[in-house]
């Protein structure tokens, strides 16, 4: 099963290395990884997706919590979190094909980030599943190159029934 784990770390040199090393050392595989600033300048957020059984997830959470730079570890449960990813996709776009591609892009809310004589670059934001679908539809047109950020996530604001929507260790 795929799990999204959100980790708040001190914004210090080596913090990411310590987290990723823990995964490597204990034989856990990271599917995607996104790192960025938070509302606090001294805190960064690492969002990881891992595919593993529930017991292994528990072990991952506990091991991460032991890292001195790690402030909080939360697992974002499906349905209780907003998850987004951004992708840039360069696709073959001969003039005759452009209208079709733009219709497709419209359905996915993708923007044209750049346009050349034979290619164009789309920018699309959405759930990882939605990005996957967009990619599959573009592929037959000649997908040249793609970059994805890896997913980021936050607990939903609209789930008042759960006082702490994230599973927080300690």
């Amino acid at each position: 099963m795929t799990h999204t784990v959100s980790v708040l770390v001190e914004n210090k040199p080596g913090a990411l290395a310590r987290v990723s090393n823990m995964f490597a050392r204990r034989g856990f595989n990271i599917e995607s990884l996104a790192v960025g600033p938070t509302e606090r300048h001294d805190v960064s957020r690492i969002t990881l997706t891992v595919r593993c059984p529930a017991e292994q997830l528990e072990q991952i959470e506990k091991q991460m919590h032991k890292l001195v730079n790690v402030l909080r570890v939360s697992t974002l449960e499906a349905g209780e979190a907003v998850e987004r990813e951004l992708a840039l996709v360069r696709v073959a776009a001969a003039p005759a094909k452009r209208a079709e591609l733009m219709t497709l892009a419209d359905v996915f809310g993708a923007r044209i980030a750049d346009l050349g004589p034979e290619e164009m670059v789309f920018e699309v934001v959405g759930t990882p599943e939605r990005l996957q679908a967009f990619e599959e539809l573009l592929r037959p047109h000649g997908l040249k190159e793609m970059a994805r950020t890896g997913r980021i996530g936050l607990a939903r604001a609209s789930v008042p029934s759960t006082p702490r929507p994230q599973h927080v260790l300690r």
Binding site: P13, G14, A17, E55, Q59, K66, N69, V70, R170
Partner: protein, 571 residues
């Protein structure tokens, strides 16, 4: 003052009395500060690995944080083995290493290595200090992290220019580590459940690991065991956590543990794990381990609970507090006069009677077990003995035959299995506890890995006794080759004679002894123990002797290979 002086003032503020190290280019400013004066005694090792194991020995014998100092590059890479050893055995260690100047970091400068990078998987935390203002805070944090929660090693890598920089020194009164919060208490409901499960059990055992010693919980453990009348099984790392000579102590389980301890652990209906981690050397084949047992797991490190074996009742928290509360709860729930598991203890006693440690004294060679028995008997009247060991057959015989009735008296390399640990660890123990009788039981293979530290011992005036159980082979590897590789003894023969250990000892200024018969054994060991100098006893033993009982790697813990019955004489 200078950054280098600030390091020493910080060590003094932490109450450090002895450190172990070797100078070099990038740590020169710190050594200049030693020359300017400090209350900290510096023991000059001959190899950084030695310095690291000395600091570990110091830590294990005292419970205080050990400190090792090395230079950059090869200095710190030589420290990697002791750091890994301390990581595996949860030994509190602060390693202070020099780093090239800040301006040179990342340029592949002379003796530059990425110290924090190389040690990343084997430290609790590490710091590369490039700003002198951070130095006191980092050192304060380093000591705090090393000894709080589950103990372990940390590394402080200090750029040379930071050691030379001016600082207005003040040691911070407290640490600021928002992400480091080891558990301070235990959940009362889990303690209640644990006590209830223990009282409901008919075959309970306490399975005690090194965490009981690290967590300073041995008094509480004794109280708990006696209150419940519960058999205590102590792992290699827990030897001495509960008195070996106590009637409730059933000693070590595992690959070379006793049959009674392994059967006890595997046939228990409730296992109370205390600071133990279900290591493969204890459990054997994990899926076949103690199949019927309910597991109650006490550990200060929550990540150990459920890591290998599901815990029916997990209790994360400091063991000293947890065991005290558990005893209290046990008393409350049991009421007065609860007899404890009497029939179960009788069963264990019967097994102990039926399957003692055995070996055959066949006359041709001095038997290694006899060396251990003689050492045990010669020191039986002393209450000041601290043993250290290397790794291998001699270590297992030491575990089986020596008697340790106090915590911190059996100092060994468990998790990493570091050959060469024994001699430098003994130096660290003796430096920490000059009053103690310190005996290193070593193997000939192990001794040769760190024997240069004899110079350290002799020049520091440390009367430790090294007893080499010299079988002329890498004995444990030989045993595996004999049993599992059709007696193809590939690259394991070291010989009894090269080197001549007694002459080697004399060359270092130590006392050297050689013994190869049981007739002289007692007198030679007595003389070595009494000589008041660093002493090396070369006890030339049977090269073919194997350690029994043995659970082969990957086998179920109940499938014990016994000593061949027909040759057996009772040990």
């Amino acid at each position: 003052m200078l950054g280098s002086d600030a390091i020493l003032r910080s060590l003094e503020a932490e109450g450090v009395d002895v450190v172990f190290g070797i100078p070099g280019g990038a740590i020169l400013p710190l050594y200049d500060a030693f020359a300017r004066g400090t209350t900290v005694r510096h023991v000059l090792a001959r190899h950084e690995q030695g310095a690291g194991h000395m600091a570990e020995g110091y830590a294990r014998a005292t419970g205080r944080v050990g400190v090792a100092i090395a230079t950059s590059g090869p200095g710190v890479t030589n420290l990697v083995t002791p750091i890994a050893d301390a990581w595996m055995d949860s030994t509190p260690l602060v390693c202070i290493t020099g780093q090239v100047r800040s301006s040179l970091i990342g340029t592949d400068a002379f003796q530059e290595t990425d110290a924090t990078g190389i040690t990343l998987p084997i430290v609790k935390h590490s710091w590369l200090v490039q700003d002198v203002e951070e130095l006191p805070h980092v050192l304060k944090a380093a000591f705090h992290v090393a000894r709080s929660g589950r103990c372990g090693p940390v590394l402080v890598d200090v750029a040379k220019d930071v050691q030379e920089a001016e600082i207005e020194y003040a040691y911070p009164p407290r640490v600021d580590l928002p992400g480091w919060r080891p558990p301070a208490g235990v959940h009362p409901r889990q303690v209640r459940e644990a006590a209830a499960a223990m009282l409901a059990a008919s075959r309970p055992v306490l399975y005690v690991g090194g965490g009981a010693i690290n967590g300073d919980a041995c008094d509480e453990l004794g109280e708990l065991a006696e209150t419940g009348g519960i058999p205590v099984i102590t792992t290699l790392m827990a030897k001495g956590a509960f008195p070996d000579s106590h009637e409730l102590c059933y000693g070590p389980p595992g690959m070379h543990g006793s049959k009674w301890a392994n059967w006890g652990l595997n046939r228990a209906d409730v296992i109370v794990a205390v600071g133990a981690r279900f290591d493969d050397r204890v459990t054997g084949k994990l899926s076949a381990f103690a199949p019927g047992a309910k597991v109650i797991h006490f550990d200060v490190d929550a990540a150990e609970i459920g890591k290998l074996r599901h815990a029916d009742i997990p209790v994360a928290g400091p063991l000293k507090l947890a065991l005290a509360e558990l005893t209290e709860e046990l008393r409350r729930q049991a009421g007065p006069g609860h007899p404890g598991p009497v029939a179960w203890r009788q069963q264990l006693d019967e097994w102990r009677e039926a399957f003692p440690y055995r070996y055959a004294a066949d006359g041709d060679y001095l038997k290694p077990q006899a060396v251990l028995e003689t050492l045990r008997d010669l020191t039986a009247a002393r209450d000041d003995v601290v043993w250290t060991t290397g790794v291998g057959q001699h270590q297992m015989w030491a575990m089986q035959y020596l008697v340790c009735d106090r915590p911190r008296t059996f100092v060994t390399s468990g998790g990493l299995g570091t050959m060469g640990y024994g001699l430098p660890a003994a130096i660290g123990v003796k430096a920490a506890r000059p009053d103690a009788t310190v005996v290193c039981v070593d193997g000939d293979g192990c001794f040769q890995m760190t024997c240069q530290e004899l110079a350290t011992s002799v020049l520091e005036g440390l009367p430790i006794v090294v007893v080499i159980v010299n079988n002329g082979w890498l004995g444990m590897v030989r045993q595996w080759q004999e049993m599992f590789y059709d007696e193809r003894f590939s690259q394991t023969h070291l010989t009894h004679q090269v080197p001549d250990y007694a002459q080697l000892a004399e060359a270092y200024g130590a006392a050297g002894f050689t013994v190869d018969s049981e007739d002289d054994l007692e007198s030679v060991l007595e003389e070595a123990l009494a000589c008041g100098r660093t002493a090396v006893v070369d006890a030339r033993c049977d090269p073919a002797e194997k350690v029994f009982p043995m659970i082969p790697a990957g086998a179920a813990a109940t499938d014990v290979i016994e000593f061949p019955e027909e040759e057996a004489v009772q040990a």
